[in-house]
Amino acid sequence: MKIGKLVGTIGAAACVVMAMPALAQDIKLGVVAGMSGPGTSYGIGIRQGAEMAVKEINAAGGIKGRKIALVVADDASNPAQSVTAMQRLVNEPVDLVVGGWGSSQVLANMDVAERAGLPYIVVGATNPKITTDKNKWTFRVIFTDSVQAEQIADAAVKRLGMKRIAVIHDANDYGVGNRDIFLASLKKIGIEPVAMVSYQSADKDFTAQLSRIREANPDGLAIFGTIPAAPAIMNQARDLGIKARFIGTGGLANENLMTLSPKASEGTVLTTYFHEDVDAQARAWADRYVKEFSGSAQPPRPVLAAWEYRAIKFIAAPCLESSGTDKEKLRQCISRWKGKLFSVPGEAYFDKTGQLIQQSVLVEVGNGAFQAFKGK
């Protein structure tokens, strides 16, 4: 099996190089994400979502007969290299970019797109600073930490009845962004956190931080971090005898959470960007996606793949159809976009800062899988 995996990866790497030979009149769609380095699983999920969407669009005749060609740039989940990766796409040139994972990387590469005047739809970074009134060409479909942190704070107090809430957060943008908004939301409802500690993304041992949290004996523990730190925190918290229920936001929305902490993650409530059971169309897409990509070296990552797919299929494609590849017209079309996306309750629309406003989805970890959260 191992050799198969190796061949699979070489195959994947090789195809990145060939990247569907782009013919002259093809529409070039850029995808930038970390496909090596710490964010590998997120980046490959994004690439799979793009490949799936583009294959379906081209199969259905493409955009007014023009095929879409994917140009993929791996930024190795490193801010410095993400600048160079975006520069490469600008230089290609591509007509628009859909992708981007990791707030540090997107904060670094979005300036390149802004200066080059290139429409850039961000699918995998939640730091609020990405969409402000200053960015003109950068849009974001995944909702920010602020929306998720507010909703989980609200749910924790009102639906889960938590009184003594502790917070442990990664020191990176994602962790700090979520913490600040979560605390503000709690303050609005009149709740003060009983303990608050931070950690470095690469940390493996959390006894120091968790010992302080245990002192405060919380009934709820908010974890604003990503894989593999979050599941490690859950395991070690249970080892230390912390009984508090875990809550969190999008960083936990990754199947690896259950593989790395099978027992400890049970009962965790979190906001997520995508869940198969929200509506039938989401379930159908998820089945198609898993079937298509379960053979590859990476286990399928539906969460960010879903956003990349929806951003291309339901936002980028219609706009390319209506306003062609003129950058300014394309930008205006995206900014005025309004519509329905599977797994997103109600209607979504872009506000003036380029942020897609939408309802988030609450899920709960039950016997090793994400389930729609039904109350207590």
Partner: protein, 318 residues
């Protein structure tokens, strides 16, 4: 015969320079972008050359010092509103002061202890950049650093910035040659050959080493200054141990004491990092192998192999 040879070599150099200066004209923007990175990286690499090549001291803190230069100018411009060019001297000075404060005592120690100390310095600087949030915004990094303006002419695009980077690399090369040719250069080469013999011909070995450390920090700080105003967004992870390893490799690969060799090695290795990019992990494996096999078979640096000089290799005339 030699007259002919020099003029022939001279011609090659002139032609190469002309092609380089005109690069932004004909080359695609992405190539100019990579060229800018190469030119910027020659500064920390040549700076490190004073330590590795000329003083026989290996340092793994050049990445952190490069970061100190970048952060000094980034914070001065974004938080205090200074004009970019006004922050060049403070960036260089801050890097030198920090390097000498943290490493001054260690540089006098035996070679191996100095390497160990530089690893400590690298990690400490990185951790402080990452955790002193009030000063450096920590993991949020510093955004929208202003571009350098020369007489109302903003160097925003890679093409425009290219000339500043080329000039900086040129000045750095010229100054480095002067330093190596100076008395200090002589003392450094002497103490790296035989420290005891050097002190027994009145060379103040300790002071010379600290001066070499200060020079390597100054070059790193200047490089950091340029980097910050080119990338215009900096993050602590850009200045981690991997960066120090990168500069060390480039400076050692260039050839034992040849500054031109270091520049060529920087060009080769930086473009290798870019063009091997689509290969993900395999790029890093290839990089590791280059490092390992290079040291196993060309300990004196690949380019000394290229040089076919008969007896005396090109030594810097005193």
């Amino acid at each position: 015969m030699t007259a002919f040879r020099i003029s022939q070599r001279g011609w090659i150099v002139v032609a190469a320079l002309a092609a380089l200066v005109a690069l932004p004209g004909y080359a695609p923007q992405y190539l100019v972008h990579v060229a800018n990175f190469i030119l910027i990286y020659t500064l920390p690499v040549i700076g490190l050359g004073f330590l590795t090549g000329f003083t026989g001291r290996v340092s793994l803190a050049q990445g952190a010092l490069f970061g100190v230069g970048a952060y000094t100018t980034a914070l001065l411009t974004t938080k205090l509103g200074w004009a970019p060019l006004a922050t060049l001297v403070p960036s260089v000075l801050m890097t030198v002061v920090l390097a000498v404060a943290l490493g001054g005592a260690a540089v006098r120690l035996a070679g191996l202890y100095f390497v160990m100390a530089t690893i400590g310095i690298q990690q400490i600087v990185w951790l402080v950049l990452m955790n002193w949030i009030e000063l450096t915004n920590g993991p949020q990094g510093v955004r929208s650093i202003p571009a350098i303006g020369l007489g109302g002419y903003e160097l925003e695009t890679p093409q425009r910035f290219f000339f500043l980077a080329l000039a900086a690399a040129g000045i750095s090369y010229f100054l480095a040659k002067r330093v190596i040719g100076s008395r200090l250069g002589l003392y450094l080469r002497a103490l790296s050959d035989d420290q005891l013999a050097a002190s027994s011909v009145a060379v103040e070995v300790g002071r010379a080493k600290v001066t070499a450390l200060a020079l390597s920090a100054a070059w790193a700080g200047a490089g950091g200054f340029l980097y910050a105003h080119y990338v215009r967004y900096i993050h602590p992870d850009m200045f981690g141990l991997e960066a120090s390893v990168l500069y060390l490799v480039m400076s050692m690969f260039g050839g034992y004491r040849s500054i031109a060799g270091m520049i060529v090695a920087t060009a080769i290795l930086e473009s290798a990092t870019e063009y091997l990019r689509p290969f993900g992990e395999f790029r890093m494996i290839a990089y590791g192998m280059i490092l390992l096999l290079g040291m196993m078979y060309f300990p004196k640096g690949i380019l000394t192999l290229v040089r076919r000089r008969a007896s005396a290799p090109a030594t810097e005339k005193s």
